[in-house]
Amino acid sequence: MTLAVRKAEAAAVLASHGVPHRRIEEWKYSDLKSALGEAGIGKVMAEWQVDNLPAGIEMFDLAQPNPPAWVLGAFGRSAHNVMSAASLSLSAGGVAFRVPAGAVIADPLKLDFIGPGHVRGLLVLEEGASLTLLEGVGAADFRNVGFEIAIGAGGALEHVRISPDAGDAVLVEEAHVHIAAGGRYRAHFAGFGSKLSRMELEIALEGAGAEAHLSGVSVLDGKRHSDVTTHVIHRHGGTNSSQLFKHVAGGGARAVYQGKVTVAKGANGSDSVQTAKALLLGETAEADLKPELEIFADDVKCAHGAAVGDLDADSLFYLRARGIPEAEARGLLLHAFLEDAVAEIANMDQRELVRSALLSALKAVA
């Protein structure tokens, strides 16, 4: 199937579904159509930039002609969701990366998506390749990113995406990740919201030993919104996934987590665990959590837990009774609340980056 055909199919999907709105189940808590208003999704091409491409990574600008075979083979295969279809059919822009088999890249790949419009990304890790990806999210009125990631057998990808407070921006990203046998994907999403912020991930565990570990934190204030929607599919037995998401919503903000885990028929020996917790600090803040399980195999271990509440009164009293002033005590507890999700980040520098972003955000919201 050629690229042109894939793009045409994507255009058809977009045409038949239209821009998602709150009456569509998966977008119930994130009315994209309403947030965009008259402007709609447009046809503009967004930009991307890479800071100091580490040696050993092959890069290709998707706007250029004559893409290499590895791009043709992988690009545009996952565009069944509307917004992915939109970015594929509407944008000629984007960037593709390939890490050759066995290459272990020490320096992180720093990739930023910037400017308004639609843009695509492709990352192919061949067998045994290993990489750390640090993704930056620039502000813009509206941007729609479609990212495809293929992790080959035994490959490993660490992915950290920090999405700073982007005011009135409407930012959507859909990432499709395919993980082959023995491959590992570990990702962390730190989000500080915007008018509408949606990070959607579809992760397919396709061979025995494939693993996906997702974590995330969000600290929202004012009228910010942040939606992390994941769908992890255990296509094959002997696969493992875990998710840990923590949200703090102050003011009139809205934190959304929708996590669906599917275990396909016959995928025995699959193991999946999900935890989503939200703390509401604002009078009109809202948290919507929907951890979903769709299980078609019986020899599996799947569990999830979700909780919404406020700071534990006993813990707060304990700290205050030891002399820690209330505001500082609340801050300590908020940090403590988010800490286990942050601790999931493998790279020390990135962990500190997230920690300091949280520090300032928490000061504002607590």
Binding site: T284, E286, D288, L293, I295, F296, D298, V308
Partner: protein, 484 residues
């Protein structure tokens, strides 16, 4: 009390046979003409001798229904229902209401004996008042005197419409509005019978109330409408148990149950549902599309739903609680079993509106064969629901690799002082658990029953005693042959 033990033993032995309720009574039926139109609605209303206002209410609902579309979002698939290809009213011929059992057609009584509810014995032993509904018309209402003494009204809804119109008008449609959903609207137009209960202020209803349903005539949908009102400070426990015969055509069951609990009142509603589930090849079976909702209208009111659902080809029901009054409590305890080709999409909605409201959800889903079992729940805390508390535990048990177990919980909180906790697990019957039982001489099916009952214990403990034993047996029977 030893009398009850004997009774229960008999019931238990009876349940040991495979679906024993596969038979038909051959009493001449009186039917409305096939199809559904305004005339059908008028026919039903006339047959029931209803006042004008009730007919108008029905007609209003019917007109609305004509403009509505069947919902398609649940995870259940079924062939398109032809609403014109069914009878909407069927009644055994010689049955205006009887004052005593002696007046009842002995053939009907025989039917009830076969079903395991011998009225005479129940009268003496369990002290349970039984409102036995036989295909849309109540046959006998017993224990009227005892209840009358307490001031409790327990009668068929058609009777209540005639004798207590003010009460009915005040509360009917106030919990499940006529426009609520496709099946509720249909029910509002063509409901043929059901139960009405009113418990006056401060009265603790002296016994468990129960109703037995049975669908007999082919192609007759059952549209039961139940309304239970617990006035201030009162308590009532209501048991609903259903059986139905083998049929090849699918039969639609679209009931509506409305519960209203005022200040300090409590309603306990238990259901053991044993509708025909379809055969091993997925043929036949009841479609169970039910709307059940409880309104905790008063302060410190409490409504709890307990259900054991083992039947129906397709189940679509979400018994819910609106926690309106401050300090009100809602509970939902459920065991849902889906085997062979059954499909179930069930769960609950707990809507926290008032302050200090509490809800508790314990759901145990068991899937076997090629069945699909979905728990769909909503816990919604509104802005004014200070200190709301919810705890939800959903567990799924999968037997075999061809079935599915799905959990779709929606957790929405808009008040920062509310606390919501939700946990879900999925598992299977462990090999070593089974082996342990086998090694101790317990045959496979019994071992499965033992293990599954253990899995469901928390819910079974909520059932009134009479049902608990029947429910346990039912659980075992529903899963016969599912392992190995």
């Amino acid at each position: 009390m030893s009398g009850i033990a004997v009774e229960t033993k008999e019931q238990v032995a009876a349940l040991g046979e495979k679906y024993k309720y596969g038979f038909v009574t051959d009493i001449e039926m009186e039917r409305a003409p096939k199809g559904l139109s305004e005339d059908t609605v008028r026919y039903i209303s006339a047959k029931k001798g209803e006042p004008e206002w009730m007919l108008e209410w029905r007609l209003g609902a019917f007109r609305r229904w004509q403009a509505m579309k069947e919902p398609k979002w649940a995870r259940v698939h079924y062939p398109k229902i032809d609403y014109q290809n069914a009878y909407y009213y069927a009644a055994p011929k010689n049955t205006p209401l009887k004052q005593s059992l002696d007046e009842v057609d002995p053939k009907l009584l025989e039917t009830y004996n076969k079903l395991g509810i011998p009225l005479h014995e129940q009268m003496a032993l369990a002290g349970v008042a039984v409102d036995a509904v036989f295909d849309s018309v109540s046959v006998a209402t017993t224990f009227k005197e005892k209840l009358n003494e307490a001031g409790v009204i327990f009668c068929p809804i058609s009777e209540a419409i005639r004798d207590y119109p003010d009460l009915v008008r005040k509360y009917l449609g106030s919990v499940v509005p006529v426009t609520d959903n496709f099946f509720a609207t249909l029910n509002s137009a063509v409901f043929s019978d059901g139960t009405f209960v009113y418990v006056p202020k401060g009265v603790r209803c002296p016994m468990e109330l129960s109703t037995y349903f049975r669908i007999n005539a082919s192609e007759t949908g059952q549209f039961e409408r139940t309304l239970i009102i617990a006035d201030e400070g009162s308590y009532v426990s209501y048991l609903e148990g259903c059986t139905a015969p083998k049929r090849d055509e699918n039969q639609l069951h679209a009931a509506v149950v409305e519960l209203v609990a005022l200040d300090n009142a409590e309603i306990k509603y238990s259901t053991v549902q044993n509708w025909y589930p379809g055969d091993e090849n997925g043929l036949g079976g009841i479609y169970n599309f039910v709307t059940k909702r409880g309104d905790c209208r008063g302060k410190k009111s409490k409504i709890s739903w307990t259900q054991v659902e083992t039947g129906s080809a397709i189940t679509w029901k979400y018994p819910s609680c609106i926690l309106r009054g401050d300090d009100s409590v809602g509970e939902f305890y459920s065991i849902a079993i889906a085997n062979h080709y059954q499909q179930a999409d069930t769960g609950t909605k707990m809507i926290h509106l008032g302050a200090n409201t509490r809800s508790r959800i314990i759901s145990k889903g068991i899937s076997a064969g090629k069945a699909q079992n979905t728990y769909r729940g909503l816990v919604s805390v509104y802005g004014k629901a200070r200190n709301a508390r919810n705890y939800t535990q959903c567990d799924s048990l999968l037997i075999g690799g061809d079935c599915g177990a799905h959990t779709v919980p929606y957790i929405e909180s808009r008040n920062k002082t509310a606390r919501i906790e939700h946990e879900a697990t999925t598992s299977k019957i462990a090999e070593d658990q089974l082996f342990y039982c086998l090694a101790r001489g317990i045959p496979q099916d019994e071992a499965v029953s033992l293990i599954v009952n253990g899995f469901c214990k928390e819910v079974l403990q909520q059932l009134p005693m009479e049902f608990a034993v029947e429910a346990q047996k039912l659980v075992g029977i529903s899963l016969e042959g599912s392992v190995g």
